[in-house]
Symmetry: C2
Subunit: 386 residues, 2 copies
Amino acid sequence: MKTVYVDNNATTRVDEQVIADMLPCFTEFYGNPSSMHHKGAESGHVLKLARQRVAKILNAEADEILFTSCGTESNNSAIRAALKANPYKKHIVTTMVEHPAVKSLCESLDKEGYRTTYLPVDSKGRLNMAAFEASLTPDTAIVSIMWANNETGTVFPIRDIARRVKEKGILFHTDAVQAVGKIPVDARDIPFDMLSLSGHKLHAPKGVGALYIRSGFKFAPYLIGGHQEHGKRGGTENIASIVALGKACEIAMNHIDEENVRVKKLRDRLETELLARIPKSFVNGDLDNRLPNTSSISFEFIEGEAILLMMNEFGICASSGSACTSGSLEPSHVLRAMGVPFTAAHGTIRFSLCRYNTEDDVDFIIEKLPGVIKRLRDMSPFWKED
Amino acid sequence: MKTVYVDNNATTRVDEQVIADMLPCFTEFYGNPSSMHHKGAESGHVLKLARQRVAKILNAEADEILFTSCGTESNNSAIRAALKANPYKKHIVTTMVEHPAVKSLCESLDKEGYRTTYLPVDSKGRLNMAAFEASLTPDTAIVSIMWANNETGTVFPIRDIARRVKEKGILFHTDAVQAVGKIPVDARDIPFDMLSLSGHKLHAPKGVGALYIRSGFKFAPYLIGGHQEHGKRGGTENIASIVALGKACEIAMNHIDEENVRVKKLRDRLETELLARIPKSFVNGDLDNRLPNTSSISFEFIEGEAILLMMNEFGICASSGSACTSGSLEPSHVLRAMGVPFTAAHGTIRFSLCRYNTEDDVDFIIEKLPGVIKRLRDMSPFWKED
């Protein structure tokens, strides 16, 4: 079956060059980098190179990069370390539209005696900056605000946010899992203390992530064990996947321009054509500040899951909101926070493109989707053509 | 350079069949298993198969297997979940010879208000069973005792230990990272509640592990995020490495007999010949209850690290104790707990073989090592030939 994969915010296909860099790690550079022999040294060498490459995409220093097993671990580790570094502070600031790796953790911490402020957003998904300013208190241990939203692609004004948090001397973490590799991220320009990224969102394999930790922050490990990662994470380093992440970052750096020109153009054409052909449809998010690859479109009066299944019959792979919250019958917490009406939130599809997508892919979706929506609406008891 | 790799308790080379099973996961089965399209379904399918394969090596049910990022995460998650399940119990029982993934975690928990009993071992590394019996109290939340020691290969009487712990209604976890794939492990025969295993110790890649969780135990996730792994671990599943772990378990099951006959014979010959040729050398551990692949040999009056470096010049890769504690000048905590004299503990080498080792490998070590030891002893101020 033909596959048109436009679900790249969920996960990506691994780049062929990334695979080529990984392969020798399974049978050649397989030593434990902690070992005192040449097999260990070889692994230590490729590990070091990967760390430099990941640092480079963030304009950071190599020793500010901690390798983790995924974005969720990066986010959990960052927030827990901030709380450990501030044992007398019990307040956390985050937003209503974070990924579950931050949101569910904060909800869990609320049960352990912490108090989290979940900042609201407006109908375009823009952060309420007055509420943000008002939320920062002397009891605030950490502010964790995502760089770009996984569902709508909305990009928050992270430079401004980070600077205001740092003016108050509070730790600032950003979940940049959807941003890194798609838009520029600069640790020298923007004073975040910690930043999470994930390999499988930028054509590295699943199961590897990184946490940027600004020099000087006394980071308490979340996985406690051996002395690996300079005492910041126990567990034998995942050499092959780390090498893959390094290569993927190097490649992504070289593709950010393409992402912001060619991929953006594809996304814009897809969006414009679908809106023109399908009545009662609209785009969610801040259209002026948005990832170049993401489009969240609501089709009123039908169910997103039905749309997905019918698109899948044509080989089109997209999603209804985040993969990490799929399986739930609740509409997306992101769209609810934006006040998207129930009848539209339920029929929302996220298209997330990547550098592998072509004009043909977009043509195919434009050709097939209007018929899918029409068929479903014809069956819907809620739909009445105007 | 010729490589003779006998450091398989540190990490292993990935099996070619395992790589073959992984490869399609990077470019074909790359979907997010949570996604509602055929790319997601394909990943979900291979994930399910891998879970069944891992379950099989433990004689367990597939839904008792939680995939993690490593043995350290499995151990940390197990102990934290046990404490969370028993919020009013503050006592932990473990041993003095655990891997840092358990030992350092317990030391850290001791600072958080928990109280850990570190059970002693005798000079052969055998657990003091009277101390074990005496340690179990109504305040004990969890007993975590390793199946087989990573440094000496000593196998603890886990069936007996598990049964006695369960008689008292206490949760029992075992770090079986070194046992699984080398000796039989049976969840239906031995009543452990949780068991940790790691992929890279059995010819799967680094960066993947599993935690067996007995049905019925209410496991609280350690990585909090999406609903993945039936709510037991947030984070997109590491499909390729999980598939690799499944295949590696399947292969290991078919090789346990070889491990216990051919590999054991190689190990025994290596040991016998080295002891015969090198004066003032002895084997550490319980020779009657030991992993078939492991030999810990002390060479008195010289430094293990010097031995390793000189062996490395011949391409021989071994270790002085655990890779996870290397870089430290302290002698191994395992050997110290066994009361191995300082002058011998420092000169201890761990040889850990695998199914890839050959008679030639053993011959080569037997040929080279006596000269290495003699040269170092000739330089040592502490050595005097009798």
